[in-house]
Subunit: 584 residues, 2 copies
């Protein structure tokens, strides 16, 4: 061992000890006859002191060091003259008697500090240096700890972690697969799994009862900001359970994580139906750290000659507490915000509640004060509040616009504190959603999702209104997990396929494999999957999942550090019996 | 929940309890007015009793059940009339009052029993039914437990599990890569990792200090019996360590596993140099469950006119205790065994030690009794033993042949008990081995392996004799893990590349990426990787790693259950801008 202690653990009580440390040079300060070096390792930083009078040779050596040199030092723990209260080892320093340079270092392309001067691109190219920064490494330490605690909890609950294969077959419905040409089976391809959905259901057929896996999944999609082509799921499935059992089990897991990692006692999670989430928040993943619920104003504001409202299919408002102080310019900013093409509202109506309780709105010429007062009351608004109203001819679209406005107001009013957590279950998702593109009902979750038993009669009469035994766990407006109870009854499954527009032949072709397995005795089962990357990001208070991934890919799916993907040899292509066939 | 207890937990103390159970029908026995059904779940089997007189309706229902039907039953725990001492629940049965068929089952293609009538192929095709067999499921339960205990131990030792990417780049030197065409980067390919070797070394450069990962690795090789295209490694790396630190750390991990999983207190592991392993066992992974060491007989048996021996570069014998009783036919069988092309010996010389101590050999006409007696002494042979001797003109090849013979004798004499474990470290591997094919020295481990410091001068004079800081953990003749201390010094690395025959340009092209990273301050580091599949197989006493993998592939790399790999759509190929280009 090159050391007998680490750079994070020496304290005032260790004074006088002979120690051996190893680590990297964080900083060098030369002060005449004294030179101070901050030595860094994973565990912290310890100050090394070199005194010209005490040991001129070692002092000279110290003065020739550079940033990020790798050192081994021997010396004595001494009390510092000027203590640093900001670091755990700030009371002591090492009076160095022996200095060995284990490796020199060329100057890094950016500073290895909390506030680095390196931009995103260069930090990704030299990710192994970026990872030296404590703020980055901490995220990966957190990730390790969360994954370990997930395993500990699930192991204690009798779950078995079963590894499912990475080289599988192309799956029906869903995103695009990554594929892998098979050399031994020329002309054939493996696919990388988008999720182990079918395999975990097969494990239930196999009687495995409680399965989980922390597993890499792959989707070849065009990458948005917070997507990675490979990502990690906490994938879970249970047999002989109903929805209530799953919710309780995984609420318990989340409670365990919050307690052990964040020291937070999570209250019993509220449950919100999908219908209420859409009605009050315009989103199936409402950020409930703050209230600002939607209030529908159709009855109240129609019929006064304001044609925008009179013709609207939906009018809804939110009450921004204390925001009556907003200037005209700020409100214009909000109007521009909702009119951006990504949001697409036509305009924004506002109403200030003045100090005297009167309401001053942007549509005063259509509404008398008594109507505005009624609105104030309905909105639960008080003096000093700002009411913001959107309307539109498509209720769902307008709600989504209002949801964006609500989140923006939450940001502006500082209501979305990263250190505050608000968790809930969103339940009773619809079974189907209409696809304009496909001109048919599509499965909202996936085609094996079970309808709520009491809604089964509606399958014949009004399938679009059928609710599913499907659920999402939402934390701070982020869907961290979701799943469903699966259909285990072959006849019901057949009916669901019919509603989705599959002929029995098509259903057999697409899903026959799983349906055949079910013939051998499938238990009632259900499960869910968490996105580990998102879960860790939330706990770390990160804006992007990228920062909790050791070696992430960029928006072009490239690992700029490794230089992947890359061109491969003709020999390799020949062996695989494939050809590159560029279109232009 | 469909149950309030499982099929494995009810005991005589539970008599009188009302219970709800769910599971699969294992067996039905109809005995006049009584029908007995064995209900199975992951936790065990519980007998259900149906009495025509007590409840005719439920009795009739029970008589219409079939094998593998999925049931939910309610009833009372009662003491059995005829107890079954062979099962934990054998004292009780459930007098069933309510029976619900949760799912019917068609007759499975093989019996779901310990001794199934299903052959390998059909069991793999219906792996989800094969996994219902307790003997198969137990292996996966063991795998879960081992992986969890590995994580627990390493977490306690301060290791961080860091996920490295699956979509990486093609690596130099090594086996064939699986590749993944990139749609977003047409004409370019990712590779699946053969191991995270480079990434874990980068994590050391990043200061991660103690890394591990239980991780899927991929090799596109022609598959031998015990190889899978995807396999799982326990991959580990540490900084600021020497070989001794690594050996101690992972000996500790193995000790933890043996203790927690098998209840075995592992003694301090013996260490054997590679040279001794080759000398005494003719193998770098000796099975030390039994002794039967090689004894070199060159001095003793040369010069008596037996030209086979006189011209041999190596003559070595093993002493098979008590095998003098072998018949001529049995010995002929051994001769045939060593002459098989896979082994390739020219013949076998044997010598029996008779009850009176005289030695009777197959080469009596060349050797007088006093020479044979000297040999007996050298071999430590006693009355009743059988001495088996091989010779050849290539010492290494002959040793390997003798090793095969030794293992075969171990099998025949029952010395390779699967319930006995003999673990050791093999150390001091050579840095290089000569490749006839390439006509150059090749790295035995990999080109980043550090030479033993005391052998560094030999790099200039006799590189072939340089020993490496490389080590394997061997259990029962299986290499379960191996690794090395890495080179962190750029100049030494340069010299190693030269000896391997790389010009500086070639070295830069092949390994430049890692060498550049090292310029920023690489710590001394080293590590190792265990094969999890092999480790579990050993603990489970399996002949093949396949049985501890949930969904393994066959020798053609196919998953016959999923039907992977398969043909993909032309659309997919077009999007990827590749073409299948079959050679015939």
């Amino acid at each position: 061992m090159y050391r007998n202690t680490t750079c994070g653990e020496l304290r005032i009580s260790d004074i006088g000890k002979q120690v051996v440390l190893a680590g990297w040079v964080q900083r060098i300060r030369k002060m005449g006859g004294m030179t101070f070096v901050d030595l860094r390792d994973r565990y912290g930083i310890t100050q090394l002191a070199f005194n010209q009078e005490v040991n001129a040779e070692v002092f000279d050596k110290a003065n020739s060091l550079g940033r990020e040199y790798v050192l081994q030092v021997k010396g004595t723990v001494e009390e510092r003259y000027s203590k640093n209260k900001n670091m755990p080892t700030g009371d002591i320093e090492i009076s160095v008697t022996e200095l060995t340079v284990l490796n020199e270092a060329v100057t890094p392309p950016f500073t290895i500090e909390e506030d680095t001067d390196g931009g995103d691109d260069i930090r990704m190219k030299y990710r192994y240096l970026d990872l030296r920064r404590e703020c980055v490494r901490k995220n990966l330490e957190l990730r390790h700890k969360m994954a370990f605690e997930v395993r500990r909890y699930l192991d204690e609950q009798g779950f078995l972690e079963v590894e499912t294969p990475v080289l599988v077959n192309s799956t029906p419905e869903g995103a695009r697969d990554f594929v892998v040409p098979s050399r031994m089976n020329p002309g054939q391809f493996y696919a990388l799994p988008q999720s182990p959905q079918i395999l975990k259901q097969l494990l239930m057929v196999a009687g495995f009862d409680r399965y989980f896996q922390i597993v890499k999944c792959f989707r070849d999609e065009d990458l948005r900001a917070d997507r990675q082509p490979e990502f990690t799921q906490i994938d879970c499935e249970m047999s002989f359970v109903e929805q209530e059992d799953i919710l309780n089990m995984f609420e318990g897991m989340s409670r365990h994580l919050f307690k052990v990692i964040k020291g937070i006692d999570l209250p019993k999670l509220p449950r919100m139906t999908w219908a209420d989430a859409m009605k009050y928040y315009g989103s199936d993943k409402p950020d409930t750290r703050f209230d600002m619920r939607f209030v529908e104003l159709m009855d109240l504001l129609k019929g006064y000659g304001f044609s925008v409202f009179d013709n609207a299919a939906y009018i809804g408002g939110i009450c921004a507490k204390g925001a009556a102080v907003y200037t005209r310019k700020q409100i214009d900013g909000l109007t521009e915000f909702v009119k951006r093409p990504q949001i697409g509202a036509k305009g924004l109506v506002y109403a200030r509640v003045e100090a005297d309780g009167t309401v001053k709105s942007s549509v005063d010429k259509f509404y008398a004060q008594d109507v505005l007062q009624k609105m104030k009351e309905t909105m639960n608004a008080e003096a000093g509040d700002l009411i913001l109203i959107l309307s539109g001819d498509d209720a769902m679209k307008t709600r989504k616009q209002l949801s964006e406005l609500r989140l923006e107001m939450g940001n502006q009013l500082g209501l979305r504190d990263k250190n505050k957590y608000s968790c809930l279950w969103v339940i009773d998702f619809p079974m189907y959603e209409w696809s304009d593109e496909e001109q048919r009902l599509m499965a909202m979750h996936h085609p094996f999702t079970s309808p709520k038993p009491e809604d089964i009669p509606l399958l014949d009469t009004d399938p679009a209104s059928v609710r599913a035994n499907a659920y999402d766990m939402v934390i701070n407006g982020v869907e961290v997990g979701g799943g469903s109870i699966r259909i285990h009854d072959a006849q019901l499954q057949q009916k669901i396929f019919e509603i989705l527009g599959f002929t029995p032949e098509q259903a057999q072709k697409k899903f026959g494999f799983l349906m055949n397995a079910f013939k051998y005795g499938a238990p009632p089962h259900g499960g869910l999957a968490y996105g580990l990357d998102r879960f860790v990001s939330l706990f770390a208070g990160l804006d992007s999942i990228r920062d909790c991934i050791a070696f992430p890919k960029n928006n072009q799916g490239r690992d700029v550090m490794l230089g992947a993907p890359g061109v491969i040899d003709q020999d390799q292509l020949d062996e695989l019996q494939i050809k590159v066939d560029l279109k232009n």
